[in-house]
């Protein structure tokens, strides 16, 4: 069983603290790392992918120490950065083979076979021999997923995988998560909750450089339950609620609105506890500072 252990990780950009004493341990499966922009997700990813050197704290991948076994660890990691790009004139297959040659100490034939397996697995045969400049955004991102699989890594790190894609392309990419997360750890950072809503089973939530939640998705939602209310309100009431509280959804129905809002207590007589999803829970985290400690 693959495992990633992070202990007391801290990182500073000059005097600015980007990560504050983060510790967690995860095993195989899709692990979502949620947090608003600037929370420290990408910094954490760059430390885990070895792009940044550890300033303070420890990271172990399958008991290998990042400070001592860097070379070995790098062979075990696949990384898809947020702004994945490559030369446009190269073909997808050529790119994957180059990654294979860079990552693996195998002969050319073995690399070619391995790349073919990945292409088949991700169903990219139709366009893999085209130049990348002819790819759509989704195809390009799929190529990014293909390259992380080269060398069959134990840990895959994916940073904001669906940014800039249209809804259809997003769905295509999301469907790749169960394929790539089989028998390995996949860390996917995102601020778009839908990306991980269906396939993620473990969550890490970072805010202001601190890890504020580590656990299952269900528990995360459960802890936010009771803080989201739903009610039918007229326009005046809606405006009153909006001034002091976060309204998550607002459906206008003839002369009243059906709203979902965040509050520790009900604000109207007809308010009732709402059924919430991961998205709602995440908004609660970002809007109710006081409730975070409760969670």
């Amino acid at each position: 069983m693959n495992s990633l252990k992070v202990s007391n990780l801290e990182f500073k950009y000059g005097k600015v603290e980007a990560l504050k004493n983060i510790s967690f341990e995860v095993t195989e499966g899709l692990i979502g790392i949620l947090g608003p922009n600037g929370a420290g997700k990408t910094t954490a990813m760059k430390l885990i992918t070895t792009l940044y050197s550890i300033q303070k704290g420890e990271i172990f991948l399958n008991d290998l120490d990042y400070k001592k076994d860097l070379s070995q660890i790098r062979k075990m990691i696949g990384y898809l950065p947020q702004d994945f790009s490559t030369y446009d004139n190269i073909k997808g297959r050529e790119f994957l083979e180059i990654i294979g040659s860079l990552k693996l100490d195998w002969n050319k034939k073995k690399v070619v076979n391995h790349v073919n397996e990945i292409i088949n697995k991700l169903e990219m045969n139709d366009y893999i021999d085209r130049k990348i400049k002819e790819y759509s955004g989704g195809m390009k991102q799929k190529l990014g997923f293909a390259q992380v699989l080269v060398g069959d890594p134990d840990l895959i790190v994916i940073d904001e995988p669906t940014v800039g894609l249209d809804p259809e392309q997003r769905n295509t990419i999301r469907e790749l998560f169960p394929i790539i997360s089989k028998n390995r750890i996949v860390l996917a950072t995102t601020h778009i909750v839908e990306d991980i809503e269906f396939y993620c089973n473990y969550l890490l939530v970072i805010k202001d450089g601190s890890l504020i939640y580590e656990g299952t998705k269900e528990k995360f939602i459960e802890k936010a339950y009771g803080l989201v209310w739903e009610a039918d309100v007229d326009l005046d009431t809606l405006l009153k609620i909006k001034t002091a509280n976060k309204v998550i959804t607002n459906f206008r129905v003839s002369d009243f609105s059906h709203i979902k809002y965040i509050s520790k207590i009900p604000l109207t007589q007809n308010s009732k506890k709402a059924d919430i999803n991961l998205q709602d829970a995440y908004i609660v985290y970002n809007n109710l500072e006081g409730s975070i400690s409760r969670i």
């Binding site: 490559t86 004139n89 190269i90 050529e94």
Partner: protein, 530 residues
Amino acid sequence: MKKISALIKYEVIDIFRGKLIWIIFFLYLFGVIQVISSMKMGGYSFFTLVGLIKVSWLPLNFIMIPVMLLSMKIGESENEIFEILDISPMEFIISKIGAVSIINLVILSINILLALIFGIFCRVSLGYLFYEMTGYIINTVIFLVAACSVGLSLGAVSKRFGEVIGFILIIIFFMVTCNFYKTSNNIVPLINIRIFPGSFDVISYDKSYLYHNIFWLILSLSFLLITYIYENFKKERVITKVFSAGSLIFLFTVCICLLNGINTNKPDYYNITNRNDSKNYSNDENKAPTFFSKENCGYYIDKYSMDIIINQTLINNCEMDIKVNKKISSMEFGLYEKLNISKVEVDGNAVNYKRTDNSFIVSLPKEYNSEENIKLKVSCEGKINTCWGQGQQMFFLRNNGLFLGDVFEWYPKLNDENIKEYNLNIKYSSGHKLYSNLNGENISGQYKFTGKDREIFLISGNISERNYRNYLFIGNEEYVNSNSKCDDLIKFMEDKKLEDIKPAVFGPFLPGGGKMDMPYVKACFFADDV
């Protein structure tokens, strides 16, 4: 090595499928067309290898900016995915240099192929081809290495400060180092072709040329090292940092020494363009470029005996029989200012002399009257390396060649129109044969030239001789082997009633030739393109 190969492949695939490579190709082709056009003069074409080499900077200058842009693109190339693949900074930079080298090899091969085609088309000998192409290849390599190293370095700059800054720096580098509007003997332009006037030769293989090229090689290496240090200094171990910084200081020190060497060995500007105009020279503000004796100065030289040793310097022990035709107490002779006089004797006694710009004045121990003879001995020694308009090589002296023209004061002379008798013993041990307007013989590097003429010239280098229509033609192989060129020269000599001249030398151009009286009427004709 496998990683480096993969990274090179990654860069090269993109380059060869990109648009920039086609732009380079078409610009190069345009440059070649311009080169060929430059050989069509006066209504007919005369294709020569030296003609190609003379303007070989043209296609290279045309492709300079796109080559640098291409290198800059490779230099700024980075991919986070590659960074976690355990590739060392050194492997990264080697792969970038490797990718650029492949492009360079292609350009170099095409350039060599072009010269070979010209060589075959012009039917030059292998020795000649090798001699001429050595400089051509060196120039191309230096150009590519320097342009690409600077381009790679600017890639690092543009990564940090933006591509616009990179583009601006490329334009500045091009403006400073291109050959379009200047020729020089210093570090610029990048392609050092100090051509010889006319058809004699193309590239001056001298110390200045050597230092120029080593300078650019080392500077290119320094640029790469600076880039490496700039990008990886924080990541490196202390010992590597110290070694890199030490290497950089060493390279810069060598560059400074080379700059000094270039400066020391660069040719002196020697203007003889308006030589005949200088006869009535009266402006004291400028140095007289040449020396002319005053008319009816009271003495003339009847006979010369010279013992000359030629290697890097000229050592001349010159003895002159001078006839006096008017009462005199001093004499003035022309002598190039860089030739240092060590001894002047009149009738066996040392006498005082005064050096001027390109002459010296001998104070005679007594007054000499008409009909008296004077035996004057002058020993002098010095280096000769001159250029004139647009930095073209003019009179020079080297191990591998020399040109000491008759119009030039390379021995004590009056530049008058009298015919003198000459007896020269010259020790010259170059692999090339030495030619003169005088009759001569060579016994194992010891040349003996005798005869009568107004002045003497000596010429040696990568030149050939050919007998054609009862004339002996001496000069650049491609010129002497061209029937049309030889026919033109014969026609010219016949038109000028100079049929008695049998050895004809295709030598460096004589500036102001149209205005000059005809030299070498006794022995040789000395001509440029006619």
